[in-house]
Symmetry: C2
Subunit: 287 residues, 2 copies
Amino acid sequence: MISAEELLKSEIPIIDKWLDDLLPAETEPPQTIHRAMRYSVLSGGKRLRPALAIIAFRRFGGEGDRIYPPACALELIHAYSLIHDDLPSMDNDDVRRGKPTNHKVFGEAIAILAGDALHALAFRNLAEAGDIRIVADVASAIGTRGLVGGQVFDLEAEDTEPTAEILEGIHRGKTAALIAVSLRMGARLAGADDEDVDAVSAYGEKIGLAFQIIDDILDITADPKKLGKPVGSDEEHNKATYPRLFGIERSRQIAEELIASAKASLGDDPNNEELHAVADFILRRAY
Amino acid sequence: MISAEELLKSEIPIIDKWLDDLLPAETEPPQTIHRAMRYSVLSGGKRLRPALAIIAFRRFGGEGDRIYPPACALELIHAYSLIHDDLPSMDNDDVRRGKPTNHKVFGEAIAILAGDALHALAFRNLAEAGDIRIVADVASAIGTRGLVGGQVFDLEAEDTEPTAEILEGIHRGKTAALIAVSLRMGARLAGADDEDVDAVSAYGEKIGLAFQIIDDILDITADPKKLGKPVGSDEEHNKATYPRLFGIERSRQIAEELIASAKASLGDDPNNEELHAVADFILRRAY
């Protein structure tokens, strides 16, 4: 069996090709915004969300290419949220994945609109899957009860001493909601029954939260070249993070507990081997 | 028969009630963003887009309340686009519908996120209708080939002398695309056949363009109290408008031609009487 790391990596070039195809060409007017959209989406990245959707889809017997448009929609949403998060009025970040952020290159107006256009294009591609339930699931995961809500809690928590509860709320919204719905989508589109869909969602929620905790740890301990962005930016922005509240040791322990609990959500059906391996990899990753 | 003006107005309180119900309560955390969303959506407005969806729905035999969630989704999208358009890096407007714009009250970060959250909530409510085609239609209408594209063309045309073609592209994107898809949605959800759906879309495209031309004329000639915003703001921003390019007289004539053409798109089936009356009203309106 190939490792989880290799499995996730093997999907990247395929996802990148689909993303390239479904984004409007740079030569199509209005060119500026298409350049801006392509700049942020096609700038590398782990493609974790689409890859998880694809892995869940295959796990539950899904076949063929129809998973790719809605899976790529998750990456478009992720890219839109990063562009908006980086804006001067938000986190005011200048560098992302080793390159200047979208608004540093295209200006704030185009950056805001590029995010908006990616958001719309995501739903265009979600619709391709022909299942209204995944539109509802994703829309719920990225609103004020998910992604946007997490960002608001995050902004409000800057320069305060957040409780563990608030911190979990931030991470559940900003990261875990989209990761959970990625897995949920893959399972649903493969025709998994409701029980399996819910189990894989619970798994996604937990690995999503663990992913963010590891992210916060890496922001302190990682090699900036491997990470593709400066380390220490959470500290600089006075961000609410697990290491800040609990220290690095205890944070890693919480992530370990979440990964164990994620695997338990699935049960030990041998068909879950890949998802178990993915969970372990999230804990181990160094970038 | 009641007049088109009365017909459109009669839907406003019903739409407002639905919007109030489908927006998260101000008391639900994160409260700031829910307050910001409600502030912009529930600040009055003509509710033209949902009203047109409802009128088209009834025209093609649609019955009951199921049109309201997706119709209201169009108003959420309209509100999101106005919040983002008003931002300092875009049109930098301080007043909208007689009240301070969203970012003047809540700050830029929350205004951007309120727009994003309304965008997501719109798709949540579109999904309620259970028809994947309207998700695809709306997503296409508000991306770079529609709403966002129009805004980009508009930003790029500031301080230039736009051609009639560019001007039409701006208005088609910024206004006509969403109005056309509103009518399209209503017809589709009522079960209209493809020919009727396309005819009502063509009608919508034309009344949408005429609506924007009249809007530009009103920005010069209207009573600011009736309009709910300062007049002359297009002039001040050096905006590309029909009156600027063609003068007021010729602009009004173009709008008249569009309205006649819109009515012709539908044909003279007596069942189209209401839609004809709505087209005439759009030409006549003074606010």
